[in-house]
Symmetry: C2
Subunit: 458 residues, 2 copies
């Protein structure tokens, strides 16, 4: 181990109390990207990240506007032309905290209980952004940076990064690099360092069904018109067959088959049905026939109802025949599905199945294809080494069910691969009440990144 | 025409401006029975009715408590034992005003536009209660009351009158009478006076489906569990077959068949499919095969989804796999269906169709059977005469889709029939935004009741 590496690791260990304080500061900002009311908090979060980048020693730090929330950029290119240029990606926005009443402590007043820090965004992904910031800070405290660094920390990941594609296109030169590091994934289990080599894509829709021009009295008009809530349920119910397969016409046509080698590798993951039963608390598992749960989550497309709203939903009763019904419906996509083709498939399904007794409207909220990385890249093997040096065992390679649109965009626009990892755990309650970050793993993650950047520069 | 009858009619005509002012006062009270926050307004409405009863000349006026909202009672029994005792039924509670943003003027700040007064409860049924109060006021201003009167004005009709049955049982003597007048129905069209001889019953449920123990990330867990919103939609979709028939086991077993004479009479109503298309604004009509729309609404049971709620329903997107999904589901019942038997049928349907991948819970919110009255009663023929005297043409007789639990309760507990009428119009937007009352019809209704009570005493 070089002197500067051991000095950086020592600095990081000594700084753990401060790293926790700064993390709490970051998680306290309610930067909910989907909420138009939260714009001031979004601004605060962007400024907080920019001032962190400056304070750890980055140059040319800027808060760059987009048509939506801004992107924070920073760089340090002093390692010289012989060293790689690495782009670190992150996002400073978070999911909404609702339903608030299910949180044991306020979502934006982070609270440490035992080894965990509870707060919205602690794991997804403010904690992960902090891992990279603090690793770089430690390296610079101990000497020079081993690689050239660029940072792209966006504010719209949780709403599908609607303006990032244009931003990357408009800033191709600024963002030019050898590869990207994306720590927005997680570990398959505690003490099981993980590299994610596949991510699912996402196509997120809102389906609105209407019938009568206004709400009706269910007694005076029940029996005369097709209830839009019933019609919406009928349409949704028809989107899966009895085998749990999605029925949109042509939906599976482009789905890349899981080959036998990949199925064998997935079967070796330390994740089985008991894991999913325990993590979800569901009474039983469910999904597409003829695939294991791990395969269904990582390698097969799925269609989920993310929200339903119609009529009277308060306490008690209202005998209304509602005029409207709405569903949020999203598909997780696998290679080589095209989200815009999936939109056409959903429209065709609706055209074929929606009866003339109702009207419908479909909005596309966000679209991104799936991606798969090459695990033989030196950028990946160095990370594998850093993970093994920190945990004492080699990492697990997995395909993940989630979506990171930016990975596909960087591949197509910048022509670069992303190395995907992260230190979140499966029970971190991402996108749910009581999101948390496991602090010992957070501190280990910082050590991994110190070693990783050091290896990349050697 | 007797002198006192013509004096009463003249008094009512002169008093129209004041009758409007008082109606506005009554409609301004936000007495939403389903809203626990609205209790003070419920109290205000009850007190307002009590003071009206006193001011028009009723005795023994009382606000009588129940386990829920109170009942207002009053009487005037000075007509003597040779005259009938008539019980006038009404309710002072109203439906919720939501969605508020669709009202053109505030729901509880009644506004007159053209010939209509807009406000929640204007038609259902504060306007109808006012018709009876003002008719009696006019009769007493012109002389003695032609009949003995009792009033029962309840505060829980819009939530299914959960405590009225017990109230009637506990007050059988106080409420003893020859028959009841219930003006909580409406007219089939403008200038078409109507007597309702059949009402549907109601069984109102809340179905709660749950799966995972907490909301999940739809990427990390999509493909592992049965989405509760999807499962709820599947259960609801299965409740109707392709012919629009309800599939609950045994649901039609007790349904009384519409006989040929009744189908002929219903076919003569001035209501056809164009009427329903125009009133609802739906793109097409829908319902049980082999029945006309009038038959489906008046004489056949129906099942409606009154509300749906699950997951994320705000602006934008949230990639959540929700832990819960809820539907409000109610059935309109016809003779001789038993609402508690319908509850068992729904439970059996759920037991047979709900998969083991989810959990479900069913709550019964309210239950009342359907009722049919004898149209040959003198109490009905006198109303027919009063309607004809006022409008210059005989009334239409119809069966109505709505439910008035009290009619069935009075039949079984007090052993009396109810005469059901009212002066609401089909386009009054009952239970919907922009509820209104047609004022010329309101004033005509007062004249009908003056003539009706006069005829009953002659």
């Amino acid at each position: 181990m070089t002197t500067s590496l051991s000095a950086a690791l020592a600095f990081a260990r000594e700084s753990q109390p401060r790293y926790l304080v700064e993390l709490i500061e970051f998680v306290s900002i309610a930067s909910v990207s989907t909420d138009p009311q939260a714009k001031p908090e979004i601004q605060r979060a962007a400024q907080w990240v920019a001032s962190q980048l400056r304070s750890i020693g980055m140059n040319n730090v800027q808060i760059l506007p987009t048509a939506g929330h801004p992107v924070v950029y920073g760089e340090n290119l002093k390692a010289g032309p012989k060293k790689p240029v690495v782009l670190i990606y992150g996002h400073y926005d978070v999911q909404p905290a609702e339903p608030l009443e299910l949180w044991h402590s306020p979502a934006f007043a982070p609270q440490q209980r035992g080894e965990n820090l509870y707060g919205r965004g602690a794991s997804d992904m403010k904690g992960q952004v902090m891992v990279t910031l603090k690793a770089v800070e430690a390296l610079l405290q101990a000497g020079d940076l081993p690689v050239n660094l660029k940072w792209l920390i966006e504010g719209e990941e949780e709403i599908g990064s609607p303006h990032l594609e244009k931003f990357i296109m408009d800033n191709k030169e600024l963002l030019a690099c050898d590869f990207a590091i994306n720590p927005d994934s997680g570990m398959v289990a505690l003490d099981m360092p993980t590299i994610t080599y596949g991510l699912r894509g996402l196509a997120y829709f809102e389906l609105r069904v209407s019938g009568p021009a206004h709400d009706l009295h269910s007694g005076m008009f029940g029996g005369s018109v097709h209830n839009p809530a019933q019609a919406l349920c009928e349409l949704i119910a028809g989107m899966h067959d009895r085998e749990g397969r999605i029925t949109l016409p042509g939906f599976y046509d482009r789905v890349r088959t899981l080959d036998q080698a990949e199925r064998r590798e997935l079967a070796r993951l330390p994740i089985n049905d008991s894991f999913y039963l325990e993590q979800t608390g569901a009474p039983a598992l469910y999904g597409e026939a003829n695939y294991s749960t791990v395969e269904r989550v990582g390698g097969r497309p799925t269609l989920e109802v993310n929200g339903l709203l119609s009529g009277f939903t308060g306490e008690g009763t209202k005998t209304v025949l509602p005029a409207h019904a709405m569903a949020k419906i999203s598909m997780r996509l696998v290679p080589d599905q095209d989200p815009y083709e999936v939109e056409r498939q959903l429209r065709r399904y609706l055209e074929e199945h929606a009866p003339g007794t109702i009207r419908w409207e479909l909005l596309l909220h966000s679209a991104s294809p799936a991606s798969i990385s090459n695990i033989q890249l030196p950028a990946v093997t160095a990370l594998a080494q850093a993970l093994e040096d920190t945990w004492g065992k080699p990492p697990i390679y997995k395909r993940e069910g989630g979506s990171v649109p930016v990975v596909a965009q960087m591949q197509s626009i910048l022509g670069i691969e992303s190395v995907i990892t992260g230190f979140g755990l499966p029970d971190d309650n991402l996108h749910a009440p009581n999101e948390k970050l496991h602090l010992p793993t957070y501190f280990k993650g910082i050590e991994v990144f110190i070693r990783y950047l050091d290896l990349l520069g050697s």
